[in-house]
């Protein structure tokens, strides 16, 4: 099926009762925000700075509310149906990776209920960014993993590839706006996908890395790559597969809540014990942990590398700590 671009605003309007999020410019920053029409949607080549994980796993979320001094605990209400429009395949794949954590053993109802009510309408990348390397880690500019619908920009229309029942339901309500796609449309889309994949310029070979990393525990490579690290949260907060959080009780007057907020394993207090002991006292240990977590521990637990090659950490690290550079050093290091 196809949707002519001039019908995009109407398409969005067919999603009543659903919150619609899409890439939007907030000042000079591109992030996922509620959209009411096609005008403020920004479906340009670049990916958003803040990944759509901010919708599924909000930076700050209230878990419980209570009045101080009482034990009457209230939990937040029902989630509403949400559509995420214009999600890049890497970010959608990332959500399926993070799903593992929130359903591991004990299920996290906050995340899972929200996730169940989200429909992901993806947009194939036709112009990968300089630091994208999705094809090296099991993804691609037109990967369908995790998406309910995949849109490809054919110039004056979007080709819609309906992938799941949720995607079908979504398109049902817009059926009046959609027109049939031809075999030529499909071919054109496929050519665009292939061209995009061939334009990806940065690569890595992660094949041996999960098995090799445990052997490099004492390597000096961790001192080298962490020497310039500022210990900020940019790489972790803007990574679509990062999921660590802090829990805090916050009180204003007599109203109190237990909330969770994003946290970063790169912060020095992340593993600081109340006694003052810190098992990861310097940036070296924390950098080593981060790389091991994404490329080794996560593989041990869930059989997938917790990295989708979106390139945000490389683009936004203020001191040019480059994940692909680290991986290539890991590859070169003798066991």
């Amino acid at each position: 099926m196809k949707l002519n671009k001039d019908k995009l605003a109407d398409f969005i309007a067919t999603l009543p009762g659903k919150k619609v999020y899409g890439p939007k410019k907030s000042g000079e920053t591109l992030k996922y925000a509620p959209v009411t029409g096609a005008a403020d949607l920004c479906l340009t080549a670049a990916n958003t700075t803040v990944p759509p994980k901010s919708v599924v796993f909000p930076q700050t979320e209230t878990l419980l509310r209570f009045e101080l001094g009482t034990t009457d605990i209230k939990t937040p209400g029902q989630e509403s149906e949400t559509v995420l429009l214009g999600v890049r395949p890497c970010d959608a794949r990332a959500m399926t990776i993070v799903d593992n954590v929130f359903s591991w053993g004990v299920e996290d109802p906050y995340y899972l209920e929200r996730r169940a009510k989200i429909t992901l309408v993806g947009l194939a990348c036709l112009e990968p960014c300089a630091n994208c390397f999705c094809t090296s880690v099991g993804g691609g500019p037109a990967s369908k993993e995790g998406l309910d619908v995949l849109m490809t920009d054919l110039g004056d229309s979007y080709l819609l590839d309906v992938l799941t029942e949720k995607g079908e339901n979504l398109c049902q309500s817009a059926s009046g706006l959609l027109i049939n796609a031809t075999g030529e449309d499909q071919e054109a889309a496929e050519k665009l996908h292939e061209k995009a994949a061939s334009q990806i310029s940065r690569h890595t070979d992660p094949a041996g890395i999960p098995a090799k990393l445990p052997h490099l525990w004492e390597s000096l490579l961790w001192d080298t790559v962490s020497a310039s690290c500022l210990g900020c949260g940019i790489c972790t907060y803007l990574c679509p597969t990062c999921h660590c959080f802090d829990m805090q009780d916050e009180t204003e007057g007599s109203e109190s809540r237990r909330c969770r907020t994003w946290d970063s394993c790169m912060f020095s207090e992340y593993t600081l014990h109340a006694s003052g002991h810190n098992p990861r006292p310097t940036r070296r240990e924390r950098t080593r942990n981060r790389i091991n977590h994404k490329y080794s521990y996560f593989v041990d637990k869930f059989n997938v590398i917790a990295c989708v090659g979106c390139g945000r950490c490389i683009n936004l690290c203020p001191v040019n700590i480059d994940l692909l550079d680290i991986l290539s050093k890991v590859g070169e290091e003798a066991r």
Partner: protein, 280 residues
């Protein structure tokens, strides 16, 4: 909402007393769940922990220091360290605390049936070992001999003091206490726990050794257990780390690829020896 693991149960403090005094004093709390259904449905095994806390302050992961065989209540022994434990220490009988759990894995007490059990504790480390002792006591026909080795810096720093006299009376239990520095009126061993271990010289034959205490003590106890020919699979310990969610989601309590709240806190030495962060 489906079962919400972050929504705690409310428990009332039935009784509370100090085990030790001073800056890092230890207080034990005996608590009972307010909700009858929760009381009746709760089950835990030695080794498991719970997130206990106070609404408006926060939570801490504390090991459950009673055996399920002791009754329909929970015991926690808490050392005063930071914000949450400080607020917990202010609780008196009748006050409420939040409890969620049980979390973590348990000591494989089923697998240990028929074996001789040796616990080696130091200071507050005796808290997760106490449920093993009580469990083995309550099921004594199913286990071999029970040897309890426990020490602290001074006699005032020993936890559960009153319980050792009773323990010593049982014919199946050998109880060895030590303090680091000589004191008048102290009839037992003076020295560090690892040295007491060598004095006691337990046989590794059909035995399981479980140790918990300060990292430095654990290091030397492990060395000595190996000297006494205990196999890696016969040695168990518990790890601790900073925790927030307690259910393997917030990401922070890992030692290598093991999450202490979920894969642990109970680990055999066979597992831990290849995990470099285990003793960080």
């Amino acid at each position: 909402m489906n079962i919400n693991p972050y929504n705690p149960h409310i428990a009332t403090v039935q009784d509370t007393w100090y085990e030790t005094y001073g800056d890092r004093c230890i207080k034990t709390f005996k608590v009972v769940f307010d909700d009858e259904e929760v009381r009746n449905n709760w089950s835990h095994l030695p080794g498991q922990c719970a997130m206990i806390g106070i609404l408006g302050v926060g939570e801490s992961m504390i090991s459950i220091s009673c055996s399920p065989t002791e009754g329909n209540f929970l015991r926690f022994s808490v050392m005063r360290m930071g914000n949450v434990t400080q607020s917990l220490h202010e609780l008196e009988p009748g006050d409420k605390m939040t409890v969620r759990g049980p979390y973590g894995n348990n000591f494989p007490v089923d697998q240990w049936k028929g074996k001789n059990i040796i616990t080696i504790g130091g200071g507050i480390g005796q808290a997760p070992l106490r449920p093993i002792i009580e469990y083995v006591k309550a099921n004594k026909s199913e286990y071999g001999d029970l040897t309890v080795i426990y020490g602290a810096r001074t006699s005032a720093d020993l936890c559960f003091k009153g319980e050792f006299t009773e323990l010593g009376k049982s014919t199946q239990t050998l109880c060895h206490l030590s303090i680091d520095i000589k004191e008048d009126d102290w009839p037992h061993y003076v020295g560090f726990v690892p040295s007491l271990l060598m004095e006691v010289n337990p046989s590794p034959e059909n035995a399981i050794a479980i140790t918990c205490g300060p990292p430095i003590m654990i290091k030397f106890v492990l060395q000595n257990l190996k000297k006494l020919n205990f196999a890696d699979e016969q040695i168990y310990t518990t790890l601790e780390n900073r925790m927030k969610c307690g259910v393997g989601k917030c990401g922070r309590c890992n030692a290598g690829n093991l999450y202490v709240c979920k894969d642990g806190p109970v680990f055999s030495y066979a597992t831990l020896k290849s995990v470099p962060e285990a003793f960080a």
